[in-house]
């Protein structure tokens, strides 16, 4: 397990560094863009727009988790799949299931670190300019976006691990469908009552990665 983590770190470190930089730049952008609004408009009008008109001042965040998830998935599994390099990993003296789960666990962990970073940036930014009640609202609004990021990660892993084109296409379509479900509303906190269900659907993408790896190893048609 530590060896796998070491390998993933070597593989991903330059990507992770790049993504960390990108997320920090984004966090700064988010903070500055909201500060800019508060400097040019009256705070009470901004509160009114946020609460009653439903304007989402942090809307730029919406697709960031999605991109992050897809990118981590691609950075992690594309190098393994190019020229069938996954065979190297599959021959490591370790069971297939622990191997795949270790990879997914590490990728997911990296993704969650970035997502936590995004949420922290959101909470700090909103908390700096809005009353505390807006923080919870913003986090709840961003929750389905976060789920979309996780779905994108699982989806990319599932799609890349699958050896057969037609099933790859099906996996991609299913993942895209789940991501779509996470972006069904542009209203704040619209997902409050369905977060659990949507999260459940996102998690349903996970076990199939194991199956795809099985099929890869068995060279199944």
């Amino acid at each position: 397990m530590r060896a796998i983590a070491f390998k993933e770190w070597l593989k991903l470190r330059s990507w992770l560094g790049f993504m960390l930089a990108a997320h920090l730049v984004f966090a700064a952008w988010l903070y500055l863009s909201i500060r800019h609004q508060f400097r040019f408009e009256h705070a009470e009008m901004i509160y009114y727009q946020a609460n009653h008109i439903g304007r989402i001042f942090y809307d730029d965040l919406r697709y960031i988790p999605l991109l992050t998830g897809a990118l981590i998935g691609a950075a992690q599994f594309l190098p393994e799949l190019l020229r069938g390099r996954l065979r190297l990993s599959l021959h490591l003296p370790m069971g297939l299931a622990p191997l795949v789960l270790a990879h997914l666990g590490i990728g997911l962990e990296a993704l969650l670190v970035f997502l936590a970073l995004d949420l922290a940036a959101l909470a700090i930014t909103i908390g700096s300019f809005f009353p505390a009640a807006f923080i919870g609202s913003a986090l709840l609004t961003a929750a389905p976006w976060i789920l979309a990021g996780i779905a994108a990660y699982f989806g990319v892993a599932l799609t890349l691990l699958e050896p057969r084109r037609r099933y790859q296409a099906a996996n991609l379509a299913l993942s895209a469908g789940v991501v779509w479900l996470c972006h069904r509303s542009g209203q704040y906190q619209a997902y409050d009552l369905v977060l659990g269900g949507v999260a459940g659907l996102v998690l349903l993408l996970a076990p199939a990665s194991l199956q795809a790896a099985h099929r890869f190893r068995n060279g199944e048609p």
Partner: protein, 423 residues
């Protein structure tokens, strides 16, 4: 082996869920005609309920409850308090009804509309519990937002300076003490007000305290004006919609948890109960049309619409309900029921929150599922797979019909593809 089945089940379930959302939606987008909702009113001219009904493709019906049909213009002429602008254009004003004459100005002055949509009910849409308390006596034309907001804390009404995003202790103390003086029991259950400056005047906010008592809180300058209203504490208030109308007779609507609806009077905070038999605040929009004569309450959802005609004391004199034709019964809807065993949607409907809605299964879906099982059996036969080796697939087709077949076609199967032995 079991992990294989588990993976398959997970993806098959996902496929079915997505297909149950997308396929019917795409089908409806392609084939369903647009159907407008039914409009139902009480006509003071006809002394009868009149309605406009739509069956798709510009097929409108205008008629009275007793069966008299007419055209659109006659329909509008039967509702002079609604279509008074057209009436004026056609030179039909003033009009005499019940021995009273009404010109444009008289109609305009008397008319008030109070509406409570399902999504406006306090707990049916998200909101951030931060509110503005406007200065209701600004001493100038037009209202403006104050540079502070308040939130109800467990033990105080806390004001925040918006420029600093910091608590304003002075204002907080002043309002909290004023509430305490009126025996307000923290924490507050409900805060209701119309948070806008686009209204003729400001009536502040209504607070429901922990014991159910209703307080009217206004602000003059930075001073609180607080009234403990005589509204009974055991009313079970669910939502209050404040509506500042120029006439200043009513302050808005009060909804209780048992779906009773009241008009809140400005004078002494009296409650006037409105007809609510058959009304369900979670599904229906409610509209009260205060016409010069025969005020009417109308409420309904996509399935039925009900109108209750009232006298000048807002007591019911006649009621009429009508099923909304919608698209049921149309060919495309029947095919849809055969194709799609159930329809799932993740939408806001008449709420501010997304929710899952499942409709079906219709009886016809049984036939569709049977067909799906047949397709799977046929598919297995062509691939020389014995039915007992396809139990998961057959079960899926039987439960999920077309969606199940789609999942079976798209996904790698739940069983092993090869039969090699290790030794």
């Amino acid at each position: 082996m079991t992990s294989r089945l588990l993976s398959w089940l997970c993806l098959a379930f996902l496929t079915v869920v997505l297909a149950a959302i997308l396929l019917p939606a795409i089908y409806a987008m392609a084939f369903a005609p647009r159907v407008a909702p039914t409009h139902l009113f009480y006509s003071a001219v006809k002394q009868d309920f009149v309605y406009r009904e739509h069956r798709g493709n510009h097929d409108f019906t205008y008629a009275t409850a007793s069966g008299e049909h007419f055209d659109r213009k006659a329909f509008e002429m039967s509702l002079p308090f609604i279509y008074y602008k057209n009436m004026e254009l056609w030179g039909l004003l003033p009009i005499e009804i019940d021995g009273q004459s009404f010109d444009m100005q008289a109609i305009r002055d008397a008319r008030q509309v109070f509406e409570l949509k399902a999504r406006e009910v306090a707990d049916r849409h998200p909101s951030v519990p931060v509110h503005a308390l406007l200065d209701s006596d600004p001493g100038k034309a037009g209202l403006s937002f104050p540079e502070d907001v308040f939130r109800m804390k467990p033990d105080r009404m806390e004001f925040l300076d918006v420029d600093e995003n910091r608590v304003d202790p002075a204002l907080t103390d002043r309002f909290t003490e004023a509430l305490a003086a009126e025996r307000f029991a923290f924490p507050a259950r409900l805060v209701a007000g119309k948070q806008t400056i686009l209204k003729p005047f400001d009536e502040g906010v209504f607070l429901v305290d922990a014991e159910g008592a209703v307080f009217h809180v206004k602000r003059v300058g930075d001073d609180p004006v607080i009234v403990r209203t005589p509204i009974p504490t055991d009313l079970g208030i669910r939502s209050i919609k404040v509506q500042e109308n120029r006439q200043r007779i009513y302050l808005g609507l009060v909804l209780t948890v048992d779906n009773r609806l009241f008009l809140l009077q400005s004078d002494g905070y009296g409650l006037v109960e409105l007809p609510s038999s058959g009304y369900d605040a979670d599904r229906m929009d409610y509209k009260l049309l205060l016409n010069p004569v025969h005020p009417t309450a109308v409420f309904g959802d996509g399935g039925t619409v009900t109108a209750v005609a009232l006298n000048e004391d807002l007591l019911p004199i006649a009621a009429y309900s009508r099923a909304v034709p919608g698209t049921t019964g149309m060919i495309h809807a029947r095919i849809s029921k055969l194709l799609f065993p159930v329809t799932l949607s993740l939408g806001t409907g008449n709420s501010g929150y997304l929710g899952w809605t499942v409709s079906g299964p219709a009886p016809l879906a049984f036939l569709g599922n049977l067909l799906a099982v047949g397709v799977v059996l046929l598919f297995g036969r062509r691939r020389r797979i014995a039915p007992q080796q396809m139990i998961p697939q057959l079960a899926l087709a039987a439960i999920a019909g077309l969606y199940g077949v789609l999942a079976i076609a798209l996904l790698p199967g739940p069983g092993p593809a090869t039969g090699a032995t290790g030794g």
